[in-house]
């Protein structure tokens, strides 16, 4: 099986410059520096490399939106916040192959003519932060970064910026506010970061994984990279899989690999041979899929076609014994906790949804609560400054719609009628106390 971004993971000392260089690091940079910046952007557009942080926006097209004539400095901001529940991929790159990311950053900065990049890494990630900082220092000492990148007339400085615990700071405009030293309140768009980003200067925000594929686009050429994936979704990507499967982990596979294959062939199927009940395909914010929907190819367009999203490709698997209303309570509480509170529909809506689901779980559900949930979710959807509101509303709508009988059963009887073969821990009260 072809591997790209995960190729060096598992090599001894893969995080050091010596090992990285012996395995290809910075050879693609050499090649890129011999190209014209515009030619790199063209090649990345041709590669169909999509933004792998969640939204799937084509990377090369995003770069091409930078204003051509602005006198202001331009910035590259790397999103290593990795907060979407179920998503665990970026840390593998930062821990095991930091030089791959640095190479991707340098090529990108050269292509967009930026001389300063920030890597925003979530505050809990001590080891990734340490590895990135060491790798940057090594690259500086080796003349790969600094005033003259690889001896060329091109200066680049990379700064690691540590987050401090806020899911919302993964959202790009919140991240920029946070980087500017403020609380992470998302900004209204437009203007988009490409026009007014960090310090109101043109800024490209890209995910760690997205940038780690840039060296391979240069290595094999945009067309060859595109051909590895499927229509309009180029190359490979790192699928995270967790929940009730035998072999949770990350799997680097072509864009468009069927979800069924990832669950059963790679992740070893459902634990204890149980039946699949439902899957979240791309991180907790994505609408849920039923067991009948898993033949879908895992690419941005195919999932959108069936009403879900590829997102960050954080697959979360639920088997037949999981009580979905309880699982949804875990998620809605999360969104209520993480709402920045700036806009009313999100601040109030996320809390109401959590409260309604809580009362259903507590056996106090009222007739009509399933509709209440959908109504609240609908009033949040599309009415907020940033997509966190949607991220909270979409799961509620899809779970309650697709698994309505289970919710109705809880509402009617206060407990599920079908006895689970495996007891599912109740969480209601415990989470309430856990608010720190």
């Amino acid at each position: 099986m072809l591997k790209l971004a995960t190729r060096n993971i598992g090599l001894e000392n893969s995080h050091t410059l010596a090992v990285a260089r012996a395995n290809g690091a910075y050879s693609r940079l050499e090649k890129a520096l011999a190209m014209a910046p515009e030619a790199i952007v063209e090649d990345v557009i041709k590669s169909n490399l999509r933004g792998l942080g969640g939204a799937g926006f084509p990377a090369g097209r995003k770069w091409s939106f930078l204003p051509k004539d602005s006198p202001k400095p331009r910035y590259l901001v790397v999103n290593g916040d990795e907060g979407e529940p179920g998503t665990v991929k970026d840390k593998y790159i930062m821990i095991h192959d930091p030089h791959l990311l640095i190479e991707g950053i340098i090529i990108t900065c050269y292509a967009i003519r930026s001389h300063k990049a920030f890597i925003y890494i979530r505050g809990e990630y001590d080891l990734p932060i340490e590895r990135m900082e060491r790798a940057i220092a090594e690259a500086k000492d080796a003349g790969i970064l600094g005033e003259r990148v690889m001896g060329r007339d091109f200066a680049l400085d990379i700064v690691v910026h540590r987050g401090a615990g806020a899911y919302i700071c993964g959202e790009e405009t919140s991240l920029l506010e946070s980087l500017e030293g403020k609380r992470g309140w998302p900004r209204l768009k437009p203007p988009f970061p490409a026009v007014e980003g960090y310090q109101r200067c043109p800024t490209v925000v890209n995910n760690v994984e997205t940038l780690s594929y840039v060296p391979f686009v240069i290595e094999m050429g945009g067309q060859a990279f595109a051909d590895l994936g499927c229509e309009r979704n180029g190359g490979l990507r790192m699928y995270s899989i967790s929940g009730r499967v035998n072999k949770p982990g990350i799997y680097e596979l072509p864009m468009g690999t069927p979800l069924r294959q990832i669950i059963y062939d790679y992740a070893g199927g459902i634990t204890d041979g149980r039946r699949l009940k439902a899957v979240i395909p791309g991180g907790s914010s994505c609408p849920i899929l039923t067991a009948d929907e898993i033949d879908v190819p895992m690419d941005f367009d195919s999932l959108a076609k069936i009403g879900s999203m590829l997102g960050s490709a954080g697959i979360i698997v639920f088997d037949e014994t999981v009580s979905l209303p309880e699982a949804l309570l875990v998620l809605t509480r999360f969104y209520a906790h993480e709402s920045c509170g700036q806009c009313t529909p999100c601040r109030e809506g996320t809390a109401w949804m959590a409260k309604i689901i809580q009362r259903i779980i507590d056996g106090l559900g009222r007739p009509g609560d399933a509709d209440n949930l959908i109504r609240v979710a609908r009033n949040v959807l599309g009415n907020t400054i940033c997509p966190l509101g949607d991220a909270a509303a979409m799961p509620v709508m899809s779970w309650v719609t697709k698994f309505r009988p289970e919710f109705e059963e809880w509402i009617r009887r206060g407990r599920p009628v079908s006895e689970s073969p495996v007891p599912v821990t109740r969480i209601g009260e415990r989470l309430e106390r856990a608010a720190v």
Partner: protein
């Protein structure tokens, strides 16, 4: 010992930056095009220096960052990782989000509560441990997971938790 979450705790005396911290502050400023962007790294430095962010620490943060206190306070309180009261010497953050929940995290939280004798948000009387239930740590592939002293531990069982806690005493 249980202190309401909204209450900031004073340091016993005045707080001042060490010389090493002052040098580091200069180094941090040199990385950013403006001083305001240095806010988070300098708050992190203060957490390392002083253990938690008290009103006194906010005051000296305001001085070095040349920002009004209300701005400093709004930043400090927005992020969950800036403590506003002393934590235990070992701070345990156990994940309560979806993949860990699917892997029985609630039972392990109960186990930790029983073992440490404290609830999330509290510190043991001997000051050794503090406990916090947190959202996804991005260690879902090794769920259930926790973070202690800047390190991740996954595939938790009661026995493994006992080892981790006993090892940290």
């Amino acid at each position: 010992m249980s202190i309401p979450a909204y209450q900031m705790v004073d340091h016993p005396g005045p707080v001042t930056w060490s010389d090493a911290a002052r040098r580091e502050i200069d180094a941090i400023f040199s990385r950013y095009p403006d001083t305001r962007s240095a806010t988070l790294p300098i708050i992190w430095l203060a957490v390392r220096e002083f253990g938690w962010i008290s009103p006194q620490v906010e005051a000296i943060l305001g001085e070095v960052l040349k920002r009004p206190l209300n701005e400093i306070h709004s930043v400090v309180t927005f992020y969950t990782m800036f403590p506003q009261r002393p934590l235990g010497r070992h701070h345990v953050q156990i994940c309560r989000n979806i993949s860990c929940w699917l892997a029985n995290a609630p039972e392990l939280l109960d186990h930790l509560i029983a073992k440490l004798g404290i609830h999330p948000g509290e510190v043991t009387t001997d000051g050794r441990f503090s406990l916090e239930a947190v959202e996804c740590l991005a260690y879902c592939e090794c769920a259930p997971a926790l973070r202690i002293d800047g390190r991740y531990e996954g595939n938790l069982t009661r026995e493994k938790i006992d080892q981790i806690i006993d090892g940290a005493r």
